[in-house]
């Protein structure tokens, strides 16, 4: 989706687009320097007065150079804004083909009633070699104070015309003017995509053609004014999905006399190109490295279900994920198999190869992980992950990912649960597949507790985690040392003390993970006067609404649908009787988003409570935010309602 040759998030340009001096470097005014706060956002620590970028191509003896020039003028209002006075660009320095440079770097201050300009000298520029392949160019602007204006220009030259860096239109600080000019030779054709909620002006700029070039070019100017600061919200999948961005994807290039090379312009050809690559499709075809082992493994196995499970378990047990993503193999499946270590592609392509070898109809599915963002526009870097899909009868798919040790068929790591993937069949055709789980993951909890006269609660809990709940639990808690995870649980349920803790089905992934423990709790029951008050949901009563913001811009992400059921049986102490119980309730949200049911009754000296909390979607559009917030509010209130006991 982004970042290939240049790891850099910001790009701009020059060109006197409107003949306005306002958007040129070196035209700082006294009024600008005097400005104390941003007129539209008084809390802004700094603001981009303008950011202009341009990208153009040059041809020199059949070699293309793509140049991007960016000019920035930034106003610093507060000391927190000083971070904008230190800039860096990381770039691919292997092969010495990419050049990065800063110039026109200066700080402007108001001294008395005069403008003082301090230029950056050599000692404020640094080049840092990160490793063999990447370097950083850094600048540190001099004499920066509250009120300063800083200006700089940077230029990036690269021969790589295949991947274009993304251009952002919104930043963590307000931006008064952002524009980006792209001048594209007719030799190249790019598809352009703009995502996000901003309206970006797109025009054909009326400027004279550049001189001395041997080709004609198409020019586009993208601009937007008065962009407010971008703010992150909690419970969002990946905030980058929502930043207004321009993406350019190469469609075709006329690289030499009359030869036009086509690049991926739609999802189908993106997928096909990936499939045709040796380090993808080639790896699926190769079988010799595992044949002997697999023949032995599948001896006498006839059922396809058995084969799928055995092969999945075999790869999952044998292979160790090196924690790197990617849909292309790195060292190759055969070497990975021998060394028992591989990246995602090696592990899952190997799995596909084995399943196909065993006669199971299996295909790769390209995925973009959550941190990579949602794959919106067709281009090869939209994806960064690959899983396997077994085609079942009646068009159902069984999704497999053997990288993590507690996954089972149809349970994927949460990182891979990101909207849609693309499945590629043997003939190179591909279709979109939904990755989001539809099935609800259950959690069932039984608590038997008794309240003692001094307010202490002692009890036993048995909690069962199914499907995704089981997966997440195993991946998180079971990798911690036992003591440590007990401490984590005790932190989660503040005030509880756990004894005789055990888990079952740690390794048997076909069964729910079960936790059993005894607990005591000193901090739930309140003795006030002659009465006793407590929430019958005990330590499971949530106290805080996770949705605190009053408004919401982005979708609410629940990861997967879930269904939590709790049964409580609570004995009351001798010498007390029940004065009142909370009323039963059933709450539900529109569009079947979710529900909460609370059923309580008295049976002799016991209180019995059953609660069911359901969320039926993996994610929900922000238009339902008020509904969800209100639902949580009511649910939490109910969970905190008290049983009242009185002395007999």
């Amino acid at each position: 989706m982004k970042k290939s040759f240049l790891i850099i998030s910001i790009f701009l340009f020059a060109v006197c687009a409107f003949g306005q001096k306002k958007y040129e470097l070196g035209n700082v005014t006294i009024d600008e320097l005097k400005e104390k706060v941003h007129p539209n956002d008084t809390t802004a620590v700094a603001a981009i007065l303008f950011k202009k970028g341009k990208t153009y191509f040059d041809l020199d003896f059949l070699n293309w150079t793509i140049t991007t020039e960016v000019e920035l003028k930034i106003k610093i209002y507060k000391k927190e804004g000083y971070v904008f006075a230190d800039q860096q660009i990381q770039y691919y320095s292997g092969g010495n083909q990419v050049e990065v440079d800063y110039d026109n770097v200066a700080t402007y201050n108001l001294v008395g009633d005069k403008i003082e300009k301090t230029k950056l000298k050599k000692d404020g520029k640094f080049t840092e070699e990160v490793n063999g392949s990447y370097s950083n160019k850094k600048i540190t602007l001099p004499k920066v104070k509250e009120g300063s204006i800083i200006e700089y220009k940077y230029t990036i030259k690269t021969p790589n015309f295949i991947t274009f860096d993304d251009w952002y239109f919104q930043y963590p600080i307000p931006a008064n003017h952002v524009e980006y000019l792209v001048a594209m030779p007719d030799f190249f054709s790019y598809n352009t995509y703009i995502k996000g909620n901003l309206t970006i002006d797109k025009t054909i700029p009326d400027i004279p053609a550049r001189k001395g070039k041997s080709f004609s070019e198409k020019r586009r100017l993208y601009s937007v004014d008065n962009v407010k600061a971008f703010k992150a919200e909690a419970y969002v999948n990946n905030i980058e999905n929502y930043i207004p961005t321009l993406q350019m994807v190469l469609a075709s290039a006329n690289i030499s006399e009359g030869v036009v090379k086509s690049y991926s312009t739609d999802w189908a050809s993106v997928a096909k190109n990936i499939y045709d690559a040796e380090s993808f499709g080639g790896e699926i075809k190769s079988t010799s490295y595992f044949q002997k082992d697999l023949d032995l493994l599948l001896q006498n196995v006839t059922s396809n279900d058995m084969k799928v499970n055995m092969i999945f378990n075999y790869v999952q047990a044998k292979m160790n994920w090196d924690r790197t993503n990617g849909y292309f193999s790195h060292v190759g499946v055969s070497k990975a198999y021998a060394e028992k270590v591989g990246n995602v592609a090696e592990i899952n392509l190997m799995l596909i190869a084995m399943l196909r070898y065993a006669g199971i109809e299996t295909n790769p599915v390209l995925v973009s992980t959550r941190s990579n963002g949602i794959a919106l526009f067709p281009n090869p870097s939209a994806y960064n992950y690959v899983i396997a899909a077994v085609e079942l009868v009646n068009d159902q798919l069984l999704l497999l990912d053997a990288t993590t040790k507690s996954a089972v068929p149809n349970i994927l790591p949460v990182e891979a649960l990101n909207w849609k993937g693309r499945m590629i069949r043997k003939d190179g055709t591909s279709i979109e597949v939904d990755l989001m789980p539809k099935m609800s993951s259950k959690e069932i909890t039984n608590v038997m507790a008794s309240i003692e006269a001094d307010g202490k609660i002692i009890g036993k809990t048995r909690q069962q985690y199914y499907d995704y709940n089981g997966y997440v639990f195993r991946e998180h808690f079971l990798t911690l040392p036992k003591d440590k995870y007990l401490e984590e649980i005790e932190k989660m349920y503040k005030g509880i003390e756990i004894e005789e803790y055990s888990t079952a089905n740690d390794i048997d992934l076909s069964k729910p993970l079960i936790e059993n423990y005894n607990f005591t709790h000193n901090n739930i029951v309140e003795n006030i006067g002659s009465k006793v008050y407590f929430s019958p949901m005990l330590y499971y009563a949530r106290t805080e609404n996770p949705f605190k913001d009053e408004e919401r811009e982005f979708p609410i992400d629940f990861n997967y649908p879930h269904h939590d059921k709790h049964f409580f049986t609570i004995s009351i102490p001798d010498g007390y009787e029940i004065e009142s119980l909370p009323a039963p309730i059933a709450l539900s949200m529109e569009e079947n988003i979710g529900s909460f049911k609370y059923n309580i009754s008295q049976a002799g000296r016991q209180i019995q409570l059953t609660t069911v909390f359901e969320i039926n979607y993996s994610n929900v559009s922000p238009e339902f935010y008020d509904t969800i917030r209100d639902f949580y509010k009511k649910m939490i209130e109910k969970q905190n309602e008290k049983v009242v006991l009185k002395k007999v």
């Binding site: 809390t43 006075a85 920066v144 040392p481 005030g495 000193n522 009142s580």
Partner: protein, 636 residues
């Protein structure tokens, strides 16, 4: 086919040799007690340090670590730093499976390089490291390296056990130095430890530790070096980045630092001299002059980290800071010192350990240590400490980053170890006064004025620059016991003169005391609940420390709705003990108005692990009382 044969033969021969020699790495040989609480076991960690001359030190490392599970990966360190004066002569890694069979060998050429700026603008330190993805657990990794450096000012300290959840079968440190360089060492927490032995020899020493069980990471643990065995080492005659130095006491060492690293760095351009002299004017009071200069530095400069060459200890020239308006802690401290000199106020460059978990300079052991610089300004027998990297700290305010610890104050005539300012609990106050109203529907509305000083000021004074969104988040989290909270007003005031931060806040929230079954139940202490109780440990292993104390006082007037009767209310509580004092009082002013007073003071201290359960109980009682409820019933 022919081609294939040769490597195969070599491989076979090789495999045979390793099996014979590495049988000792099998996991089966690890004593059971070393596996307890451990994610990794150091089978052998041997460092041989040979100092050939003042300018040459060779460190040979062989470490064999058995990693028991994924969490143990952090205990295999497969890297070395290098720079112009720090050369890696050799480095290699072998991996063995649990039966002691070699499964992988990583040669120097397979190591990767990375620069280690860690937030610095620039540095010339680099790291040579290798990645290894385990294919099975447990496994054993053998790391061997040889480093040669001309910097003999820093001899690595010896921590036979270097962290939590790792045990040690054997750790050895051998140091050898020419007698005339004055090798010295100091041991900590090793007295009467039968597992550690020492052998002194001419110009050197050897330590051996065997079978040390793992430490557990536990909350409130003091800094690791205060209870784990360790040895610090140094030379009287050393070399630092090409400079020879000699010091047997802090006075000499400070003198060396002054004449080699500070002297001649303090030139201030005429123009700036004139400017600050004009700013100071006729002011005679050195304290007032220092305040003026400090403000000048705060307005003019910003902090950036620059770690180049001698820059590790030598500050950038004051005239460069003057021209550029930025610098690191050394540069800004030295610049402030130079400016004060211009207006005839003496001040001293000071080296310190900056960290909220405080750490002292050793009073009786001279070596190059510390990670931060501040400025000491003596006025009338009192030392004022200036943090020159902050554009916001009030004059002379230290906060928890540099408070109450021994630091090296460098005077032209020599160095001196001096303790920085200590904040007593009664210095770190938070005084809250306010009121709230509960209406018939159980909604709450109220206002509160919170005034903070000392370390409580330290944790808040940057609020004034936060965006309103961030402030909303901060207060929603501060008042997280009140659901549906709406902040109606947030008025903040930072009084830098008095070093006092005021928060004037108005809130409301629906259904704080929602009536159910004819009753309203709510926590009286709506504004300052401390609900956290220290983590329980089945078996506490480490001592614990409360680094700083504080004092909170709350006084809240509560208006009740009309037509209710108090059915029950929290009793007044008073707790007193070693860990602090806690007192609450609830007085009925009239049938609709209550007055709630709460005092909570905690004491700093370093305690034995046996006391931990008492500390927990103390905090548990406070958490419970802070959440104590009042019950109102509607009048019939």
């Amino acid at each position: 086919m022919k081609k294939l044969l040769l490597p195969l033969v070599i491989l076979l021969l090789f495999a045979e040799v390793t099996i014979a020699q590495d049988i000792e790495y099998t996991v089966a040989n690890i004593p059971a007690e070393l596996k307890e609480n451990a994610n990794a076991v150091v089978r052998l960690d041997q460092k041989d340090i040979v100092i050939a001359s003042r300018k040459s030190m060779v460190i040979t490392t062989k470490s064999i670590v058995t990693v028991l599970n994924e969490n143990g990966l952090q205990h295999m360190d497969l890297s070395e730093y290098f720079s112009a004066r720090n050369r890696i002569k050799s480095i290699e890694v072998q991996i063995y499976n649990s039966f002691g069979k070699e499964i992988k060998k990583i040669k120097r050429k397979d190591f990767k390089e990375n620069s280690v700026s860690e937030g610095s603008i620039i540095t010339d330190n680099k790291l040579l490291y290798c990645d290894y993805t385990p294919t099975e657990y447990p496994f054993t990794v053998v790391f061997q390296s040889e480093i040669e450096t001309s910097n003999t000012a820093f001899i690595p300290s010896w921590y036979p056990i270097h962290g939590f959840s790792v045990s040690v079968e054997k750790a050895i440190m051998n140091v050898q130095a020419p007698a005339d360089l004055g090798f010295k060492y100091k041991e900590f927490n090793m007295l009467n430890n039968p597992a550690i032995s020492k052998q002194e020899k001419a110009g050197g020493v050897s330590f051996t530790a065997t079978n040390l069980v793992a430490y557990k990471q536990e909350d409130y643990s003091p800094s690791f070096n205060s209870y784990a065995p360790n040895v610090i080492m140094g030379l009287d005659a050393f070399n630092y980045e090409g400079l020879d130095g000699k010091a047997t006491n802090w006075k000499e060492f400070g003198g060396w630092v002054y004449s080699n690293l500070l002297k001649g760095t303090d030139e201030i351009p005429q123009e700036t001299q004139a400017k600050i002299k004009a700013l100071v004017g006729d002011e005679k009071d050195p304290l007032k002059k220092a305040r003026i200069i400090y403000k000048y530095v705060q307005d003019k400069t910003r902090y950036v980290s620059i770690q180049l060459g001698i820059g590790g200890w030598k500050p950038m020239m004051a005239k460069d800071v003057d021209r550029l308006g930025y610098g690191d802690c050394k540069a800004l401290t030295n610049y402030t010192r130079a400016l004060l000199e211009v207006v005839n106020v003496p001040s001293y460059y000071t080296v310190i350990y900056g960290n909220p978990q405080k750490r002292d300079f050793n009073q009786d052991f001279v070596s190059m240590e510390g990670n931060h610089a501040i400025l000491a300004v003596p006025v009338d027998n009192k030392m004022y400490w200036l943090e020159c990297t902050s554009q916001k700290m009030p004059f002379g305010f230290q906060g928890d980053f540099t408070d109450n610890r021994f630091a090296l104050v460098i005077k032209p005539e020599g160095g001196e170890i001096i303790k920085t300012q200590e904040y007593q609990p009664q210095d770190n106050t938070q005084i809250s006064k306010g009121k709230y109203v509960i209406d018939e529907q159980g909604n709450i509305a109220g206002s509160i004025l919170i005034k903070s000083k000392g370390t409580q000021y330290d944790s808040k004074f940057d609020y004034e620059d936060k965006s309103s969104d961030n402030l909303t988040k901060i207060y929603k989290s501060y008042f997280n016991n009140i659901n549906n909270l709406k902040l109606k007003k947030i008025n903040l005031q930072n009084n830098k003169e008095e070093v006092e931060f005021s928060e004037d806040i108005t809130i409301e929230a629906s259904e704080y005391a929602k009536p159910t079954g004819g009753r309203m139940i709510f926590a009286i202490n709506a504004y300052n609940q401390i609900s956290g109780v220290p983590q329980r440990y089945r078996q506490r292993n480490n001592p614990f420390e409360i680094i700083r104390g504080f004092y909170d006082y709350d006084e809240i007037i509560i208006d009740l709705p009309k037509g209710v009767t108090i059915e029950a209310k929290p009793e007044n509580v008073e707790l007193k003990g070693a860990f602090g004092e806690y007192k609450t009082e609830l007085a009925v002013i009239n049938e609709n108005q209550l007055l709630y007073k709460r005092t909570y003071k905690t004491n700093p201290g370093y305690y034995d692990k046996k006391e931990y359960e008492n500390f927990r109980k103390f905090r548990e009682q406070i958490a419970k009382n802070d959440n104590a409820k009042i019950v109102l019933v509607k009048n019939q």
